[in-house]
């Protein structure tokens, strides 16, 4: 339970409110009982699914009821009742999950159900991309939304260059959007096929290229090629804009540290690290002057 203000003590005795609360409890528990009873009886008719949907719209985290829908709909989505019925079922699940997300945007169970439906291959992925873009306009730090976007981008085969533009646009719209900075680090590695991390010990010991502990290797094992200097320059430019806008915001600084590590990784271009340090000095001096 997050962000719900503490009720004023002693106000809970209003008989009308007590009655309304009792009624709400009775209705909800009756609906739950009915849905779970029908599930046990393996009733997969339209009325049962309608009741299940009503329950999920009120409480999207009841995972067992999503399981119920999946049990009932798996054959239908596979075409047991024809292509049209499959299409209709897929659209129905998309509508239901959208309604459930409006109720509870952070519902893991609902996001999972939507992915499950989309994986059946009956969904217009471009529409999904538009939908998740709209969501990220309303809540640009929603990590479920970003994760879902990544899932759709992969499924639809959207070019990394397209997502590149999208993340820059999100960052320029809000330099404090850490989610978008994060997405950029993943994208840049994808675009240039690389990953370098660097430990604090590496930074403190110049001369030593990389401590080469396991943790300084990328997830895929050995580091790939470096991100080219011209690309790094563009990123430094972007992050400097963030510093000028709000030097106290953490988002850009975490990105900057990673960027410096990428610059240091240029074994044959030690100047890159010096350039990065110089750029940082300029920013710090400027901040001092503010």
């Amino acid at each position: 339970m997050h962000g719900r203000p503490r009720p004023v003590k002693g106000l809970s005795n209003d008989p009308e409110k007590v009655q309304a609360a009792k009624q709400r409890v009775a209705l909800y528990s009756q609906l739950t009982g009915e849905v779970l009873r029908r599930r046990l009886a393996r009733q997969y008719d339209a009325e049962s699914l309608h009741l299940a949907a009503k329950l999920l719209e009120q409480n999207p985290e009841v995972y067992t009821v999503w399981n119920y829908r999946r049990e009932a709909l798996t054959p239908v989505l596979q075409g047991s009742k024809g292509q049209e019925a499959a299409q209709r079922a897929a659209v129905g699940e998309l509508q239901l999950t959208e309604a459930a997300l409006r109720k509870h945007i952070k519902s893991y169970a609902t996001w999972h159900h939507r992915k499950w439906v989309v994986q059946k291959g009956l969904t217009d992925l471009q529409e999904e991309l538009k939908l998740v873009s709209r969501l990220l306009e309303l809540d640009d730090r929603n990590f479920h939304g970003w994760g879902y976007r990544q899932f759709i981008v992969q499924l639809a085969g959207v070019a990394a260059e397209e997502e590149d533009k999208y993340t820059v646009q999100k960052i320029e719209g809000n330099f404090s959007n850490y989610s978008a900075w994060h997405a950029r680090t993943a994208l840049l590695q994808k675009l240039h096929g690389t990953h370098h991390t660097i430990t604090l010990a590496d930074l403190l010991a110049p001369g030593k290229q990389n401590s080469a502990g396991e943790c300084s290797r990328g997830p895929a094992g050995a580091p790939g090629p470096n991100i080219p200097s011209w690309a790094l320059d563009e990123e430094f430019e972007l992050v400097h804009q963030a510093f000028y806008t709000d030097p106290a915001d953490q988002s850009g600084w975490f990105f900057h540290r990673w960027l410096v590590a990428q610059a240091v990784a240029h074994a044959h271009a030690p100047d890159a690290a010096a350039e990065a340090t110089q750029a940082l000095r300029v920013v710090l001096e400027r901040e001092d002057g503010i």
Partner: protein, 316 residues
């Protein structure tokens, strides 16, 4: 402390409100949070142990997994909570460990990740649940541990933190699951300690409380998620503990007991547990110590280790 214990007892006893019904599907975790908080307050026996144990056993399914309550499907999240509750009561002998281990092992994927249940949701939260559940049962050999650690490491991000799946943003709750999982898999060398702990200690806001991601609001639950990681990685001193303790104490409902996410919000069992657990990690006077990896009282963890034949007090 009396008020917090009474608040948790009251939550367990009140069955006439909407929350009781709306939370039915995750009651197993609710009981684990409430019970562990009571243990930390030295009041384990405030709840009816035999009744809880009987109820936990009723929630087990044929496949070995446990549901969030009697009427709900088996899931890794609640299987872990059930096993934790049984461990607290020292009643692990009541269940067939091999059967539970088979359920857990059946959820491991070829890439080392874990699904939450048969419906295939993949998330590093479930890697932690699987590794901890099997560690408690002494059945880690039922799964491919190095592969599990490798998957968790593949979720590591540019900031040293971890996300739900590869490429997903770091989040303190998720970082807890991944660091915990790697600790249990004896693979903490896959963590960049200084980088991650820098990110974690930057979660402290001017209020003293911790947030879960950069530029987000502070919340009592991160007192557990962040602090447990800092403790596992031996960097607890990197945050201002006095300021954090003050923030947690500020979130108490001084009249009715319980702790909320932020000052003046409504208390709940989840935040009551994480607030008390955070205070326990910081050595708050009068509280039982909690183990940062197992999320159980340290005394329970010592007993588990003895049961499984490992030396007591071994480092996780």
């Amino acid at each position: 402390m009396d008020k917090h214990a009474a608040y948790i007892r009251g939550f367990a006893e009140r069955t006439d409100n909407f929350e009781y019904y709306a939370t039915e599907h995750f009651r197993m975790s609710g009981v684990y949070w409430g019970l562990t908080a009571l243990c930390l307050l030295h009041r384990r026996d405030d709840l009816d142990g035999p009744a809880i144990i009987k109820w936990v056993l009723e929630c087990q399914h044929e496949d070995g997994g446990f549901g969030g309550s009697e009427r709900h499907d088996a899931h890794l999240l609640y299987t872990l909570s059930a096993v934790q509750i049984l461990a607290i009561y020292n009643e692990l002998d009541l269940v067939d460990a091999d059967k539970i281990a088979k359920f857990v092992a059946g959820l491991q994927q070829p890439d080392g990740s874990f699904a939450g249940d048969q419906w295939g949701e993949i998330d590093t939260r479930f890697s932690y649940c699987a590794l901890l559940c099997l560690s408690i049962l002494g059945k880690l050999d039922a799964i491919d541990v190095p592969k599990a650690a490798e998957y968790v490491a593949s979720c590591r991000n540019f900031d040293g933190g971890f996300g739900c799946t590869p490429g997903c943003e770091s989040h303190a709750g998720q970082v807890f699951c991944c660091v915990g999982a790697l600790a249990l898999a004896d693979s903490l060398h896959l963590v960049d300690r200084d980088l991650l702990c820098w990110w974690l200690c930057e979660r402290q806001t001017p209020s003293g409380g911790l947030n879960g991601r950069p530029e987000k609001q502070e919340d009592v639950c991160y007192s557990w998620w962040c602090l447990s990681c800092l403790s596992i990685l031996e960097r607890l001193h990197w945050i201002d503990q006095a300021a954090l303790s003050k923030f947690i104490l500020f979130c108490q409902d001084e009249e009715d007991g319980g702790i909320s996410d932020r000052p003046e919000d409504m208390a709940d069992v989840f935040h009551t547990f994480f607030g008390i657990a955070g205070l326990s990690l910081m050595g708050y006077e009068g509280l039982e110590p909690i183990d940062p990896t197992y999320a159980l009282p340290s005394a329970v963890v010592d007993r588990i280790r003895q049961r499984n034949g490992a030396p007591s007090g071994a480092k996780t």
